[in-house]
Symmetry: C2
Subunit: 390 residues, 2 copies
């Protein structure tokens, strides 16, 4: 069932109601069963080519009290609007955010900015699990500096409710009284419809696709958060639910569906976010992925400045670079720092696409002027340090 | 003679006087003639390896009145200190900057910020000659918006002086009364000493070096603004006097002089600057260089936003991308835009190092979050548009 799209029904005065829903794909017959939502009538529609773009679904734990009002997941425009209405209507004073990924961090910041006292709970030992430990630690510090209470290594066990509304979050360590709870526990590909049609699934249940975004069933294509990607550094199939990737996959699928020819080579796993003034970015493989892949690595963590040290507005930036032991092949990078830090990840991402070694990165001709960078860009300083450890 | 270093003699209370000067290199005898500046005594010092790092000299036209006081070139710490003292001591009301390159633009901005009425004069039809015409036009507009009067296609012919001080700038079109004149007419490699020693020179009179920064004479090395570079896109020797290049060359020369092994592959010609709030960046080859090289190209100029359109602080950014006709090889890029624009040049510079085509750039996994970028980074949008024109 494709229900997630339904949540876009209403966009502040604009009628974005979903009127039809695909209930079944008959791949052998090249047709889909469509339900007219208002009347309930059902019909079969044939297709020449079919694109599955069913996106992802938020992970929602089945826990005592989890169906209470004022427990919000944020994954659609509609869910965002509902949360804002709730915050506008009720004077929430305390909020708990469960999950320390991008959504969790951004929602925690948004609540703090509305004057709400925020506690962030994550079962893992660090925030931003896509960063290595020492870099994640910098993010925890930034969250705490921003006024968020952070509880790590703490698992959600349930919710306390009163008259159908949430009043408390229960973890394995404590009970937190709250007015509102936001869940940022990640997403999973929305592929039940594809699976029921016999379309082969891959990593994490995402639809398996080739470089042209074709599924394993003739005439059927997939793109976006429901589809697999390929990781250019691990050289393995990979699942990542990000808007940029979905956009690029959608472009490739569209060109191919339209009779053209385009390929999507894959991703390096780039992502950026912001906590207060602190910018966070990552690309490539992190240590736990390298360990699982059996790749040996060296890494360097350096501190530098976002601009020339003497230039007004210069701030601290920490860059970590990982390189393959022996070969020096760049494997990944992570950045935490002040204004001007995050988009420096693009240099590392482009270098990953180019399969550069850290030695090759040392002589990159990057832009320098005092308002923008020290003479040696922090990303290059980190590559230089990693190169010394090979 | 190495005299430029002498100008560093005094750094606001810190004694940085140059006490010795190399007057001659005797390459056959592996020795240099050194003058003790205070006593005037001369001696020969022998060397095993010699590094020439004599930098560049500002271009100063010999024109009527050009030796007047209050005509300042800015190329050393000392010249900057002298200018600041002059501005502090005398209440300059009007200034003329001659030359519309990096130094000219930055000095014009600095004078405006001090409340001085500034006129910028350049003999070429645009500011920032390292940009293509339509991008240079955006820079002229930014300068005018910042309050600078810009006169293009206007040649300096001399200065009017009174009691040895400059009081006017004369061009082929007008006479401008002034209190202070700043020359930003570029630099040339300071290589008279090297030339006299029989060391082969190359492009624009810079010292010819190999990838390890060795000159054509055994035991003698060169690095920095006095040495040649290699352009990775044109694949020809190239001269560029920038601190970043000097730093990278210096590192390579130092490693090699110390008995190690390092190479400097070359540059892509990256440079960034800022005019008020407007950021300017360029890398690779521009149209006039491509024309001279006989390379055919396509180009795309796009307008986008520095952040997601709806995000506070989102500003306009214009990106130009040039690609080789047929092959689609990226040849260069230019950026003019608001905060967050300039360092995007690093993605293009890294792609040039990787010898990417614009088609390969379309799927670069660059960082996206609303505070940092639209979903498609402007640099990628430009590459995508250029790819359509191949």
């Amino acid at each position: 069932m494709i229900r997630s799209a339904e949540r876009f029904r209403e966009k502040e005065g604009i009628d974005v109601r979903i009127r039809h829903e695909v209930e079944e794909i008959d791949a052998a017959g090249a047709r889909v069963r469509v339900r007219q939502l208002e009347s309930g009538s059902v019909s079969w529609e044939s297709y020449d080519k079919l694109l599955i773009a069913t996106g992802a679904l938020p992970i929602c734990p089945e826990l005592p009290g989890s169906d209470a009002v004022r427990i919000c997941g944020i994954n659609t425009l509609q869910s965002g609007l509902e949360l804002r209405r709730l915050l506008d209507a009720e004077a929430a004073k305390t909020g708990v955010v469960v999950g320390g990924g991008y959504i969790g961090l951004e929602m925690a910041e948004a609540l703090v900015r509305r004057g709400i006292e925020v506690t962030l709970v994550d079962r893992s030992p660090q925030l931003m699990g896509t960063l290595d430990e020492e870099m994640g630690e910098l993010v925890s510090r930034a969250m705490r500096d921003f006024g968020v209470t952070v509880h790590l290594k703490e698992s959600l066990t349930g919710f306390e409710t009163r008259e159908g509304k949430v009043v408390g979050v229960v973890t394995d360590k404590r009970s937190l009284p709250v007015d509102i709870v936001i869940l940022g526990l990640g997403v999973r590909p929305n592929t039940a419809l594809a699976a029921a049609a016999g379309i082969p699934l891959g990593v994490k249940g995402a639809i398996r696709v080739n470089e042209r975004m074709q599924t394993g069933v003739a005439g059927i294509w997939a793109a976006g958060d429901c589809a697999e990607s390929f990781h250019l550094v691990s050289r393995r199939p990979f699942y990542i639910a990000l808007g940029t990737v979905a956009n690029r996959q959608g472009r490739v699928a569209g060109i191919n569906l339209g009779g053209g020819y385009a390929t999507f080579p894959g991703v390096t796993g780039t992502a950026v976010t912001k906590v207060g003034q602190v910018e966070v970015a990552r690309t490539g493989l992190q240590e736990k992925e390298l360990r699982a892949l059996g790749i040996e690595w060296v890494s360097a963590v350096i501190k530098s400045r976002t601009r020339a040290g003497y230039f007004p507005g210069s701030g601290e930036i920490t860059v970590k670079v990982l390189a393959e032991k022996g070969s020096g092949r760049l494997l990944g990078g992570q950045i935490v720092g002040m204004e001007g830090s995050a988009k420096r990840i693009d240099t590392l991402a482009t270098a990953l696409h180019a399969d550069f070694t850290v030695a090759e990165m040392i002589n990159l001709d990057l832009g320098y002027a005092p308002p923008f960078s020290p003479v040696w860009d922090p990303v290059v300083i980190a590559a230089r340090e990693a190169e010394k450890l090979l």
